[in-house]
């Protein structure tokens, strides 16, 4: 593939914009070796400015999850470098990565991963307990519109409600970065819109830098920028001149 056809996901030296929080250069991730090697990421460069809402699009195996995992400090690249503000993520120890996740990052998973033995308020408080400057549990729960469900346990909630609890749990610590891996993948469209609305709120109202993985291209309408991945490369970068509100999406 030629150099010209390879999209570089850099805002291109616009120094007047918000500061860059993520900076990745030549990120490569290879599983295995020799003829059986699987190249999950190939030489990816990426800058993400503070407060940006990014959607990663691509079919399974395109490398979007690997990229998200490296940004979230869950995985290490085979080569290249990744940096969050002053934190060097490549080569960091397990303890440093844990501290990085704890202080800066929040995750929303496809399957919610709530603690079944804790109710809504407690699931949120769990994270607030280890955060430096959390918002109140009630505030976070109110942000996702689940105040009436504060004392319910996950098994008493619908899938969409559980995912909104996951979002509340993610935003309660006022994270710098919110990473969402297929947050609507297990939900119907109506419920999915509610969850995306909660994520959008965090991005707009708290200024949280947000990266959402999806294979649903409709969701891309919400983003500032949409990165398309294929075979471990960013093959397309598009900037939405006008972002859609979560409620306007339909699929």
């Amino acid at each position: 593939m030629s150099e010209t056809s390879r999209a570089r996901a850099n805002p291109g030296g616009n120094s007047a914009g918000p500061p860059v929080v993520f900076r990745a250069r030549g990120l490569t991730k290879t599983y295995g070796s020799g003829p059986n090697a699987v190249h999950a990421l190939r030489d990816v460069d990426l800058d993400i400015p503070e407060g940006e809402f990014i959607v990663l699009l691509g079919p399974s195996g395109s490398g979007k999850s690997t990229l998200l995992n490296i940004l979230g400090g869950l995985d290490a690249p085979t080569s290249g470098e990744a940096r969050f503000r002053e934190h060097e993520l490549t080569g960091a120890s397990e303890e440093e990565l844990t501290a990085y996740r704890r202080e800066h990052v929040s995750f929303v998973f496809q399957f919610y991963n709530l603690i079944p033995s804790l109710n809504v308020g407690e699931n949120v408080r769990l994270v607030a307990e280890i955060a430096a400057d959390p918002m109140s549990v009630e505030e976070a729960v109110a942000l996702v519109g689940l105040t009436p469900r504060l004392h319910h346990f996950p098994s008493e909630l619908s899938g969409g409600e559980q995912q909104r609890v996951a979002v509340a749990r993610a935003i309660v610590k006022r994270p710098d970065v919110l990473l969402c891996d297929e947050p609507t993948g297990a939900l119907d469209s109506e419920t999915g819109r509610l969850v995306l609305g909660a994520i959008e709120k965090a991005n707009r109202e708290l200024g949280t830098t947000t990266v959402v993985i999806t294979h649903n291209s409709v969701i891309a309408g919400m983003a500032h920028r949409v990165l398309s991945l294929r075979d471990g490369r960013i093959v397309d970068v598009s900037i939405n001149p006008e972002r859609k509100r979560a409620g306007e999406l339909s699929w």
Binding site: L74, T98, A99, P116, S117, N119, E122, L126, S155
Partner: protein, 789 residues
């Protein structure tokens, strides 16, 4: 049509490999139970076979009588008694072995051999040397136990005092006899091979020394089939009463046989009760662990069903899986049990004097091991698998999450516990049945450790009770005949004697309706310091002015209650018969005692204030000097020392019990590790997603492991609580099964034993926690993002 199963078998093998740590720990759990069972069952069978062979080949009699002297013609009359099988008469005598090197006098039982050598009953097994030459008066056979203790070989010399005359003998050989598997001096609670010998000499030797030509003083006989035992005994007693008969006894009151029977009871208890207890625990744990193992494969079972697999092959697959574990465990257990059994039988050789004691692996025990472990494993798998297999495929695909409700916890809870502790505690409360089973599993492991360790406490208590509280004298001297109480003064003057008390001890038969017991009835001085009947809590039982104090076991054997009248038949002197009321019950642990005040006993004997036993408290510094003085005193029949009894107790009782106790402790520890490790592994498996999620959310390894380990800690602590409650019960159960007449082991468990058992539990748990902690560190965080819970 392709039969489903080929791939499932491969899955079974791979599952076994993937789960190897758990598989091994479960297999070892089974192996522990099987090993104890195979070992004890084989050993019991070995002892039983050795005894029965020895008794059959040696023609061990059924009835024994001693008398003063009867002409040989009386034997013919005895043989005519209905129910008598083979009857043999002989001359028997108590002699003293001359051994200046021994602190205590060495006594011997000398028995006459008929001219043809081998007696009709109690046939000997020659172990070395040759039979004594009937033409020579100086040759004797010596029992092997004494010869081994004293290093006597054929050709060695031996001097005995027969009827007051010193005679020299030559050991012609060593022998075993079925009547002296344990050679016990009459009246002694334990066999003492150092100070008691059995000698067999040609009849002429004894007849000469004791003036018994044409006469006998000992009768042994077998019973004819269908004999009415009490009537035979009564007729023999009747026939011999004129000749000083001391009452016919059966095997039950024969010292060697009783000791042997008690040992067999002991072994049977260990062979049946302990393994049953042990294997019951292992089976229970197996049910829990296998159930959980199957539960963790719930989604796989559902997938197989969704793919159209019928339930049959799926069930068969899991049966195969658990059978492989069960068979492996049983196999290891059988091999280990066999090896241990061989080792224990070797240890037995010093205790049990049998001509042949060959260990054999009991085939029925092997078969039973396989069958029981397979049944238990399959039963355990069945319960879990069918529950899942019978679910509709899609329902099974979903895990069964605990259903937490808003009302799960009390309101105060939030004030006390952090959110993370709530996860741990709700993890337990949310699965109440499973948590309870885990706690019970841990709780059951602990009594096994206590069952091994408590013997030390019980034996300590026995020694303390018997030798420090009840028989407080250091030395007991038996006089050749009863003497006036003033004879005590001779002993008080001896160097090293701090305190001397006189006692009167006579052989009696105690009778209550049809029940009888031969006992040594002790007359004690009221308020005496050296022999003090006690109750189990150490309280002194004052010796009553009138009335008997009997051991609790003796009271039970005779079926008595306080206030009941006991018939006392004195077996010496004028052979008086008197009824005496039972006024108190004492708690002896060793032997069975019958006590009366010395005044009451002498009154009963219609005699003045006489004594025939002197109990002494001795200054240890002058011990040796005292024994020298005693050896020089006339009219002393025997001298016995508490220290010798302590040593014998250590040898005979403690040594034998410790072999079993040590093994129980070892296996108990193994079970502790097995239970805690499996509980921890399964909990980790169930909570892996949750814990990895927490790691992703920024919790450190320590914090995440902390949640899991808190949950485990709660289970272990609760389990220990259950274990403490169960331990006492398990000990009492075991002891209730083993109670014998020779001695009773009290259910005494020292707090230090509980502490050791608890520490063992904590160490085992900590080891498991460490292993689990390692696994928490290796949790795959990335996989969680994609995986369903």
């Amino acid at each position: 049509m392709v039969i489903p199963g080929g791939m499932l078998n491969r899955k079974a093998l791979r599952d076994l490999w993937a789960l190897r740590a758990q598989v091994i720990s479960i297999a070892l759990l089974i192996a522990s139970g099987i090993a104890v069972f195979v070992m004890s069952a084989s050993n019991y069978a070995t002892l039983l076979r050795a005894r029965n062979d020895h008794y059959a080949a040696g023609r061990f009699p059924d009835v024994f009588v001693s008398l003063k002297r009867a002409p040989l013609a009386v034997a013919e009359r005895l043989r005519l008694i209905d129910g008598v099988g083979v009857l043999d008469t002989r001359i028997a005598a108590t002699i003293r072995i001359d051994d200046p090197g021994s602190e205590l006098p060495v006594m011997g039982r000398m028995l006459a051999l008929p001219p043809q050598g081998q007696p009709a009953l109690n046939r000997l097994v020659l172990r070395s040397g040759v039979w004594p030459d009937p033409a020579r008066a100086d040759q004797v056979l010596v029992n092997e136990a004494f010869a081994a203790r004293r290093g006597l070989r054929p050709g060695d010399g031996l001097r005995g005092i027969l009827n007051g005359r010193l005679q020299s003998f030559v050991v012609s050989g060593t022998a075993l006899s079925p009547e002296f598997v344990f050679a016990t001096r009459p009246g002694d609670p334990l066999p003492d091979d150092r100070h008691f010998a059995v000698l067999w000499a040609p009849e002429r030797t004894l007849a000469n020394a004791f003036d018994m030509f044409g006469a006998f003083n000992d009768v042994v006989l077998t019973l004819a089939p269908g004999a009415h035992v009490p009537r035979v005994l009564a007729e023999i007693d009747e026939a011999l009463s004129r000749f000083g008969g001391t009452g016919a006894i059966t095997r039950r009151d024969h010292a060697s046989d009783r000791f042997l029977a008690d040992e067999l009871t002991e072994q049977r208890t260990l062979a049946v009760i302990a393994p049953a207890l042990f294997f019951g625990v292992a089976a229970f744990l197996l049910t829990v662990v296998v159930g959980r193992l199957v539960e963790t494969q719930r989604d796989q079972i559902a997938s197989l069903k969704a793919l159209g697999y019928p339930s049959g092959p799926i069930l068969r697959h899991y049966f195969l899986l658990v059978s492989a574990i069960a068979v492996t465990g049983a196999g290891i257990g059988i091999v280990a049990g066999h090896v241990l059994a061989i080792w224990v039988v070797e240890a037995y050789r010093g205790f049990f004097r049998f001509p042949v004691m060959e260990h054999r692996l009991e085939i029925w025990a092997v078969l039973a091991s396989f069958v029981v472990s397979l049944l238990v494993a399959m039963g355990a798998a069945m319960r879990s698998v069918t529950r899942i297999v019978l679910l509709p495929a899609m329902a099974a695909l979903r895990p069964a999450p605990p259903q937490f409700r808003a009302t799960s916890l009390p309101a105060w809870f939030g004030l006390v516990w952090s959110t993370r502790s709530r996860i741990a505690l709700r993890g337990i409360i949310g699965r109440p049945l499973r948590s309870a089973l885990s706690m019970i599993g841990v709780g059951l492991a602990m009594p096994l450790v206590v069952l091994g360790l408590f013997w030390f406490d019980a034996l300590d208590y026995m020694v303390d009770m018997t030798f420090d509280r009840i028989q407080r004298g250091d030395v007991y001297v038996t006089l050749t005949e009863a003497r006036p109480a003033s004879a005590l003064e001779d002993f008080r003057r001896l160097e090293g004697v701090l305190l001397a008390e006189g006692q009167r001890v006579v052989p009696v038969i105690l009778r209550s309706e049809h029940r009888t017991y031969r006992a040594a009835l002790s007359g004690l001085p009221p308020g005496g310091e050296l022999n003090v009947p006690r109750q189990s809590d150490y309280t002194r039982l004052p010796v009553p002015e009138e009335g008997l104090v009997l051991s609790r076991r003796l009271v039970e054997r005779l079926g008595l209650r306080i206030g009941d009248s006991v018939t006392v038949e004195v077996l010496e002197g004028r052979r008086l018969v008197r009824d005496v009321p039972l006024t108190a019950i004492s708690d002896d642990v060793l032997g069975m005692s019958a006590t009366l005040s010395i005044a009451a006993l002498n009154t009963l004997l219609r005699e003045g204030p006489l004594i025939n036993v002197v109990a002494l408290r001795v200054d240890p510094a002058h011990r040796k000097a005292l024994f020298r003085q005693l050896a020089a005193m006339p009219a002393i029949a025997t001298t016995s020392s508490k220290q010798v009894w302590l040593d014998l107790f250590q040898d005979r009782v403690v040594g034998l019990i410790m072999v079993s106790a040590g093994l129980l402790t070892l296996f108990g520890m193994l079970i502790v590790v097995g239970v805690v490790y499996n509980v921890a592994r399964v909990t980790l498996h169930e909570r892996a997603t949750e814990l990895a999620s927490l790691r992703i959310l920024g919790f450190t390894r320590e914090e995440v492991a902390g949640i899991l380990l808190t949950e485990l800690a709660i289970i272990v602590v609760a389990g220990i609580g259950i274990g403490i409650a169960l331990a006492g019960w398990a000990v009492r159960l075991l002891l209730a099964a083993r109670s014998t007449e020779s001695f009773e082991i009290p259910p005494v468990i020292a707090s230090s034993t509980y502490v050791i058992a608890v520490v063992a539990m904590i160490v085992a748990s900590a080891l498991c926690a460490w292993l689990i902690r390692k696994r928490v560190d290796r949790l795959d965080l990335v996989a969680v993002l994609k995986a369903r819970e």
